[in-house]
């Protein structure tokens, strides 16, 4: 399996993502600069956290319009997996690959801490390392993680099993406590919490590791 991490100006969890993926994959993961225009060699495309374009205007808005995103959209339309974490989630929403938007946290403050998450749907290529209903600990670190959609969309994503993760104690005001969301086809996942930050016992836990292990296994199958 071949995976890559897309790098926008001021992405800053790009290395974290690469390290976590390589740990589970056992082979090198490429970094792809946002001006490149070819993703055909990759099975898995990931969009890391950070502050692409300084989070100016709207988080993820400018990154969503860069050349590489047209390729990410094509990749997703082929049914291939795309994972966006934190800023990556914001970029995926802005690009239209995922429903909804991420607004300023309800208490307006940046928040960085471990939170408990409930795995809502373990029947996806991203979450197969967990069981549905399992509660895991992931760190969050964001200013704009307050997920919002209109009522109709919300009903649809809830009905289709598109909610992948839910906060146990909502840290940011997200509607229905949604922490991670899938597209309808289930091959695109965006989430605010950072599984890639908890893949090494030294860093405080390994609850994020099953996500990458599971992903590698599903894609190998």
């Amino acid at each position: 399996m071949k995976a890559c991490v897309i790098v926008f100006p001021a992405s800053n969890c790009d290395r974290d993502m690469k390290v976590a993926l390589e740990r589970s994959l056992g082979s090198p993961v490429d970094m792809v600069w946002h001006r490149e225009t070819d993703l055909s060699g990759y099975d898995l495309v990931t969009i890391p956290g950070g502050f692409s374009y300084g989070d100016y205007l709207r988080c993820g808005a400018m990154a969503a319009r860069s050349p590489i995103m047209a390729e990410v959209v094509k990749h997703a339309q082929r049914g291939a997996p795309v994972l966006g974490i934190c800023n990556g989630f914001q970029v995926l929403c802005e690009s239209g690959l995922l429903p909804g938007v991420l607004m300023r946290n309800a208490h307006l403050k940046f928040i960085c801490k471990d939170v408990s998450l409930k795995v809502e749907n373990a029947n996806t290529i991203f979450t197969s390392g967990y069981s549905s209903g399992e509660v895991v600990t992931y760190p969050v670190a964001h200013h704009d993680g307050n997920y919002f959609t209109d009522a109709e969309t919300l009903k649809a994503i809830e009905g289709n099993g598109q909610v992948a993760f839910r906060y146990v104690n909502n840290p940011n005001g997200s509607i229905n406590d949604i922490a991670g969301v899938l597209n309808k086809a289930g091959n695109v996942l965006g989430m605010m919490p950072h599984p890639e930050r908890l893949v090494d016992p030294l860093l405080g836990g390994i609850d994020g590791k099953p996500m990458f292990d599971g992903l590698v296994k599903s894609l190998a199958a």
Binding site: L57, G100, N105, L108, N146
Partner: protein, 80 residues
């Protein structure tokens, strides 16, 4: 020409910043603020000299970048 663009949240969309303003104004002792909503105000300085063309251009810019039309409305004023 100059274009002034207002980008505001659609009705019904939660506005955390507006809520916080309401709240803080209240605690600063300002009574009677029934609602606050925060939007963006973007001023563009354009090379274009024809008002209609400028407006069409800015409309494109709003759709492509300046506003997220899922949650936001925008208005454009063109000035000489």
């Amino acid at each position: 020409m100059k274009a002034k663009v207002h980008v505001t949240l659609k009705n019904g969309v939660l506005d955390p910043q507006g809520k916080a303003i309401e709240h803080t104004l209240g605690s600063l002792g300002f009574k009677g603020v029934k609602q606050a909503r925060q939007g963006k105000f973007i001023e563009l300085d354009l090379a274009e000299t024809d008002a209609d063309k400028a407006r069409a251009q800015v409309d494109e810019m709003c759709k492509k970048l300046l506003a997220n039309t899922v949650i936001e409305n925008y208005t454009i004023d063109i000035e000489g």
